[in-house]
């Protein structure tokens, strides 16, 4: 009996042990819940100090440093940038208390000694001060969210700078001379900073981040030192969304002088003069360069790599300079803001356009007949002998003669009201003010040159609702295609009820037409008694 009890005890222990090991294997048994997120402060001045990374793997988490907080604190003590940044040749180093990353220990000491001593000093003065122990700076998780916004030199800002610098382009623009390894100013070759200064510092060129902070902030500081008005020198001044709005924006900015044409044919082969070639079969595209300058804030929106014609990199067959993106792709590619169609397509998200265009799949909607909308001029009209200036004249004439008015049917041909009664069940039929809707749509795009050019067929505007059938004065009825829902043979076609509701509601939502409210059934159809 005694023996048997001991045996039972051991068995029980073993069973518990094995059961426990099973349960341990599945952590989901202990429903682990993530703690609720607390709202974090949003700042534009967050710097992650991970400078030690250049010396190898970090041994401590990087420090989240709030730059603006420090500049403000120092300003209160009548200290300026030089409290933390050394300068060389009248230029502030962006590094902290040093000009170069010398050795690991040395750089580490620079941070530790200077940060801690200053924090201690201000604490001794009974002021609000920073941490002095390791874990309070080196901690995982930033504890703040970034609201940092990039800033660029738009047309207005550029013009304000050229005015302030009295048209001395050389104050900012430079190029690198490979032979002498020096920077010099090349007149007529000015381009966007980003053409050379890329995301990361390379051999002979510093990163865009470094270049802009050294040059912009450096110049602003020097100007301020002369008691003249200058741009911002703090993080928030440039990178905070609210402060960015305060930057003065000029309405009438004169065209930038960069030898650009007013009107031009999109060139198909490199070199000057010759625009035609037996190999190029497509009609020529005249391009209104002057107007497109007004549509965009910067040159680099289109000229993304250099201020040259597109074909200089994007050749017909693709070339290495153009990353083998062919001219056809460079002009037509969707989802690329530099390409013609990519940019035109992005305009469809405008409130006036979104009603129809959000419900379309992102692809080229129009048939091949639409090509001639841009490819307007047959090759033969601009022969090899034609001079460049005459060619520009020709392009100008073609574009100026073009009518920017959407083609529509006669108003009388458009039904005044359409009664939808096919589905009548719980509600009375809907009397849709058909013509009124059409008029509203036309009014929306009335002043939109782009929209007017591209709604070129009489029925194009109608196709916003009467989709998937050719533009026609008498398009098929909705019920011709839409019927019973969830047809397994045609799963992507909504049933008739959903087709009606979604067509109206999604368009109203996209165009921000708030009345009638989608959930107010009786606003469109009265309840049947």
């Amino acid at each position: 009996m005694e023996k048997g009890r001991a045996l039972m005890r051991w068995t029980a222990i073993l069973v518990t042990f094995v059961m426990a090991s099973f349960l341990m294997g599945s952590p989901a048994v202990f429903g682990v819940k993530t703690p609720p997120q607390k709202t974090l402060e949003r700042r534009a001045d967050i710097i992650r100090i991970d400078s030690m990374r250049v010396f190898g793997k970090l041994t401590r988490p990087p420090v989240t440093y709030l730059h603006q907080k420090h500049t403000e604190a120092l300003e209160n003590k009548n200290k300026d940038c030089s409290a933390c940044h050394l300068s060389q040749d009248n230029r502030l180093s962006t590094k902290f208390m040093r000009l170069q990353n010398t050795a690991k220990e040395e750089v580490m000491d620079i941070y530790h000694t200077n940060c801690i001593s200053c924090h201690k000093a201000s604490a001794a003065d009974k002021e609000k001060s920073g941490p002095v122990v390791c874990g309070e700076c080196h901690k995982d998780g930033a504890g703040v969210l970034s609201s940092w916004r990039p800033i660029g030199m738009d047309k207005s800002l550029h013009y304000r700078h050229t005015k302030a610098q009295a048209d001395k382009c050389e104050n900012c623009h430079h190029v690198y001379n490979e032979a002498t390894k020096k920077l010099y100013y090349a007149k007529g070759k000015e381009g966007t900073c980003r053409y050379c200064h890329q995301a990361a510092t390379e051999d002979n060129r510093i990163s865009m981040r470094l270049a802009s902070h050294m040059e912009c902030v450096g110049c602003h500081r020097q100007t301020l030192a002369k008691n003249e008005s200058a741009g911002p020198i703090t993080c928030n001044g440039c990178h905070d969304a609210g402060q960015q709005k305060l930057i003065e924006k000029l309405k009438n900015v004169p065209r930038m002088a960069a030898n650009q044409p007013d009107f031009v044919f999109v060139k198909k082969i490199k070199g000057n003069g010759k625009t035609t070639n037996p190999a190029t079969r497509m009609n020529l595209v005249p391009f209104n360069h002057k107007d497109h300058e007004t549509y965009n804030d910067t040159c680099r929106v289109c000229h993304h790599a250099e201020l040259q014609s597109c074909v200089s990199c994007h050749t017909l067959d693709g070339a290495k300079e153009g990353d083998f993106v062919k001219l056809e792709q460079a002009m037509h590619r969707l989802n690329a803001e530099q390409s013609c169609i990519g940019c035109h397509e992005s305009k469809q998200t405008n409130q006036s356009c979104a009603g129809c265009h959000t419900s379309f799949e992102r692809k080229r909607q129009q048939g091949t007949s639409a090509c001639v909308n841009c490819h307007m001029v047959p090759n033969s009209r601009v022969s090899d002998e034609v001079q460049r200036s005459e060619e520009k004249m020709e392009a100008a004439t073609v574009l100026e003669n073009r009518q920017a008015v959407a083609a529509v049917y006669n108003v009388e041909d458009i039904p005044q009201t359409v009664t939808i009664e096919t589905l009548m069940n719980q509600y009375e039929p809907v009397k849709m003010p058909h013509r009124q809707i059409f008029q509203a749509m036309i009014n929306k795009i009335d002043r939109n040159k782009l929209a007017n050019y591209f709604h070129y067929e009489n029925g194009t505007v109608c196709q916003g609702c009467h989709h998937n059938s050719p533009a026609a004065k008498t398009p098929p009825k909705c019920v011709s295609c839409h019927g019973r829902p969830f047809n397994e043979k045609d799963p992507f076609k909504p049933g008739l009820m959903a087709a009606y509701h979604r067509q109206c509601m999604e368009c109203h939502k996209a165009m921000e037409i708030n009345k009638p409210v989608s959930t107010d059934c009786t606003a469109c159809h009265a309840k049947r008694s």
Partner: protein, 367 residues
């Protein structure tokens, strides 16, 4: 019973082997279940939902549920977040615009009809069934009201008729099982004016969902909720914002609920069935070994005793014999000696008394 270290380790080893062997069996029996082929489901597209509550109304009508406290056309109920109740198999919640969305977002809440339902796995009377139609149905006639299903459900769906004192039931969406087997649409799907709910075969719905994401990549988050969550559900969701913004749990993982416990539970038959046999066997073997040992020992003792007895006897005999011999020898020696002495004496007397001898001889001759 005292137990030796060696014995204990031996048992442990055997027990370990027993479990190790069972692992192979478990791998074979626990293959992934991807839902019944051709089973139905519903795809909810939150970008299409307008929050009209028609689905709630439709559900209420076809399931003959009690009148709601506030009418279905009263949209102010959306001001607070709700859950499913014994009176409402489905509800719509509004989530106010968060990251990136301008207008409020809506989500319909109802049973997700898991491919491997947690409610069914905890129910010890099998009141829940994952039917081949895709619906998870409930049988009130066997329900004992333990409400384990309510605790097990990761989506907090089953509700209980607390107000019904005598025959309370668990109440939850049935995907309108009686309707779909008749070829009708679920009540909510039929009522939805915008086809925010799409009814069809689950596999087809996944295809539709992926195609919508492909056609409108800006409109959707590239994920179909329910494709893999909790091992997959028959109700699938598309959204334009991260699913957590629609208060949908993103921490559930892809393991079906039953599998979380199947590991431990599959050990039970082995523990209950195999271990007693195994351990009793070991015990019996040990017991037998002890018995045999005992027997052998006794035998050995007996043999030894016997041997000793025999030996002693032999010794005794030998000793007796040697004693006998000695005795004989001694007698012989004594006899010899006596004879010798006698001879000597005879000789002496002979020489002394030759005459006598002669006399004697004569006398002897006389005598």
């Amino acid at each position: 019973m005292s137990i030796s270290r060696r014995k204990f380790l031996g048992w442990l080893g055997a027990a370990g082997l027993g479990t190790a062997l069972s692992k192979t069996a478990r791998a074979a029996s626990n293959k992934r279940f991807d839902g019944y082929p051709q089973s139905s489901g519903v795809l909810f597209d939150s970008t299409r939902c307008i929050g009209c509550r028609k689905c709630e109304e439709g559900c209420n009508r076809v399931n003959e549920l009690p009148e709601p406290d506030r009418s279905f056309s009263d949209l102010s109920v959306l001001d607070s977040e709700r859950r499913t109740t014994a009176k409402a198999y489905t509800i719509v919640n509004r989530y106010d615009a968060s990251s990136g969305a301008e207008s409020p977002l809506y989500r319909k809440v109802q049973c997700n009809h898991c491919l491997e339902p947690a409610c069914a796995s905890v129910c010890f009377v099998r009141a829940f069934t994952k039917t081949e139609s895709g619906a998870v149905t409930y049988d009130a006639s066997v329900c004992v009201g333990c409400r384990y299903c309510m605790i097990a459900c990761p989506f907090e769906i089953p509700a209980y008729e607390y107000n019904n004192a005598f025959s309370p039931r668990i109440m939850k969406c049935t995907m309108c099982h009686p309707r779909i087997i008749k070829g009708l649409l679920p009540g909510c799907v039929e009522a939805c004016p915008t086809e925010a709910l799409t009814y069809g075969k689950r596999e087809e719905l996944l295809r539709i969902g992926r195609e919508r994401i492909r056609r409108f990549p800006e409109r959707y988050v590239d994920h179909i909720y329910g494709e893999n969550e909790m091992g997959g559900t028959s109700w699938l969701y598309l959204s334009g914002v991260p699913f957590k913004d629609l208060a949908m749990r993103e921490d559930l993982g892809v393991t079906p609920a039953p599998r979380l416990t199947s590991g431990a539970l599959s050990g039970v038959p082995i523990v209950v069935g195999l271990w007693p046999v195994l351990l009793t066997g070991i015990y019996a073997i040990n017991k037998r070994k002890e018995k045999i040992e005992q027997q052998e020992k006794e035998q050995a003792v007996a043999a030894a005793l016997e041997k000793a007895g025999a030996e002693a006897k032999a010794k005794m005999t030998a000793a007796m014999e040697s004693a006998e011999q000695q005795k004989a020898k001694a007698i012989e020696a004594a006899v010899g000696k006596a004879l010798e002495e006698a001879a000597k004496a005879a000789e002496k007397s002979a020489s002394d008394t030759q005459a006598e001898d002669a006399d004697k001889k004569s006398s002897e001759e006389d005598s």
